[in-house]
Amino acid sequence: MTGMLAALGAMPHSATAQTVTLRPARPQRKVLLLGAGISSLMAAFELEQAGYVCEILEASHRAGGRCMTLRSGDIVDEIGNRQVCRFDDDPTLYFNAGPSRIPHEHATVLGYCQRLGVPLETSVNLNPAAWLQFDAFNGGQRMRQKQYIADARGFMAELTQKGLDDAWLDAELGESDRDLLRQFLRSYGDLGAGDRYRGSTRSGYSSGGLVAPGVLRDTTALKDLLKADFWRMGMHFAESSLQSAVLQPVGGMDRIVSAVTARLRSKPRLHSVVVGIDVQPDGVEVQYRERGELRRTRADYCLSAIPAQLLLGVDNNFSADYRRLLAGRPRGKLSRLGLQMRERFWEAEGIYGGISWTGQDITQIMYPSGGFGGRKGVLVGAYILSGEINDRWVNLTSDERIERALQQGEKLHPGYRSYFESGVSVAWHRMNHMLGCTATGSDPGTAAALRAPFGRHYLIGDQVANYGGWLEASVLSALAALQDLDAKEVEAA
């Protein structure tokens, strides 16, 4: 228990796979799982292995929750923006509307992929050949990230070299290390004669290079580099858990959902909206409406992945304190948009996977990390992280969002619109049965208090983790609940 909870607290830097070993269940012990998110599904998988009877209730038309991959014919149940995905009927043309990346440190999820036989491939997360584009920088023109990064590092190294103070160096480093530091800076910034930065092959040549002699690109002045907000986010985003390489299931993130569901004896009951939770001394009783009809069920324990913001609308007998904690969870906002393009034109620009960053509302364009050299492809045409932009974006119709994405994409890829075939958009803060998503990072005290079981009811999902917004956090929360449940069972036996 301690190990697991510690891992939850320490997200995202837990690198060892957590497992849970449940003792064999007594006959007919039953667990209810509310909401078929990844946390519930993995919990059900473990519980069934140990002999528990499980029942999974899911409000929407599909299992998986935020772990959603859209393909031809799929429905997007966003309130006020219901859509059907009109991509070609081709399994390689998919769009991960929710999670798309599994960091190398998320060993528990990676472990489940292995156990469930979900094939993984690398996802090119960081691609210095991709573009950056900010209106206040470079006349609004796009620039390759590697060119920006080489110049930024070059000038920083030159500045540092100039500013090194001999007295400080002697005190801190001594003579031999002092020389090492100067060499480090030369290498770090690719400094030339006189420790000046005058451009670098790291930027890529403006012409020639392999056969004909290469011509270095002009440098961009440091004061201009500062004008691109690229350094605030895009330049460094891949230096924590999201480093390259990250992993992805071949064919879409929801392959994890289908693999675990296939192994379950009791499949999630869809269209079953939980409307009441009554926590009793020896079990939990739940009311739900399945296609409108009111039903009632009961189990020895209940694990709930229902988002906190919606759980408050479920009739319940939680304590006032517990309800206050639930009410304090913010409704996180995230939007993504998928575009089917008739040609993989970005590959002709030398971009194979990775992300371009822009100061426009779309924020990012993400390129597919599979199917290289094929004909068509699906881009993530917007992945909006800012709450302020998301507030505006959510109030556009999906057609308006697609129109803006095409307009803004034009600044990164001239002719962008001419490749467009079909698009689909998801604003998680307006999705039916979600109305928000867990934001990364939350108040540790609240998270810990929500993690503590309320009698035989456990709240699970990344919403109870210190570091939400990750599949790993969702799954670890479920395993922590199982460990506690197991201990309760031993006590009772």
Binding site: I79, G80, G276, R289, G313, D315, R331, V394, R430, L435
Partner: protein, 204 residues
């Protein structure tokens, strides 16, 4: 768990008459209203959807029309509701009313109770500034286009009041909304709205 709620729905829906099947199908379609307003329409403070229990037909129509046209205003909560209203064809209104009549939860008010002095202050302020339009006990008055307020959640009353004061609500609305906004913005700061809300809570 509310036994009344059970009896009504189990009786209506598990009877398996043709009518019951229709009702179930309707609840399935319209259940998205309850995602934001609480699954028994008791209100959901996290999403901001108020209780719809006991809402007057005329006000339900007026409110939905205002969201549909955009005249309710562009503040965040209104935009969530606008998306829902625009998804709902006007022809579905009778079904919405049936849906609401099938539910019999009670408004979710939270536990806090005000002291006697606060209640007295609220009562006086209510009589002086609000009762003329909203009725002596907050029961509403259709002739004044003023809805009942005592059936609403305390947190929603506060938020709705604030939306008028901030100008998000009422600015582009019809004469009724404009009148209420005018009142909210001209009310002396000494009037304690929290006390008025406390009074409404126990006027139910």
């Amino acid at each position: 768990m509310k036994p009344v709620f059970f009896a009504v729905l189990v009786g209506v829906l598990l009877g398996r008459s043709a009518q019951a099947a229709d009702d179930a199908a309707m609840l399935e379609d319209l259940v998205y209203c309850l995602v934001c307003h609480g699954y028994e329409a008791q209100g959901n403070p996290s999403v901001g959807g108020p209780s719809l229990i006991g809402i007057e037909d005329w006000y339900l129509n007026a409110a939905l029309a205002a969201y549909r046209s955009g005249s309710r205003g562009g503040y965040a909560a209104a935009m969530d509701m606008q998306a829902a209203a625009r998804q709902l064809p006007e022809s579905e209104m009778p079904r919405v009313r049936t849906l609401l009549s099938l539910l019999s939860g009670s408004v979710d008010q939270g536990a806090a109770v005000a002291d006697a002095a606060t209640l007295q202050r609220g009562k006086l302020a209510w009589a002086q500034h609000c009762a003329s339009c909203h009725g002596a006990d907050g029961e509403g008055n259709e002739a004044m286009a003023a809805p009942a307020l005592r059936r609403l959640n305390d947190w929603y009353l506060q938020a709705a009041w604030q939306a008028y004061v901030d100008g998000g609500r009422g600015a582009n609305g019809g004469p009724a909304a404009a009148q209420m906004a005018q009142l909210a913005r001209s009310l002396p700061a000494s009037v304690d709205i929290a006390a008025v809300v406390a009074f409404l809570k126990q006027a139910r």
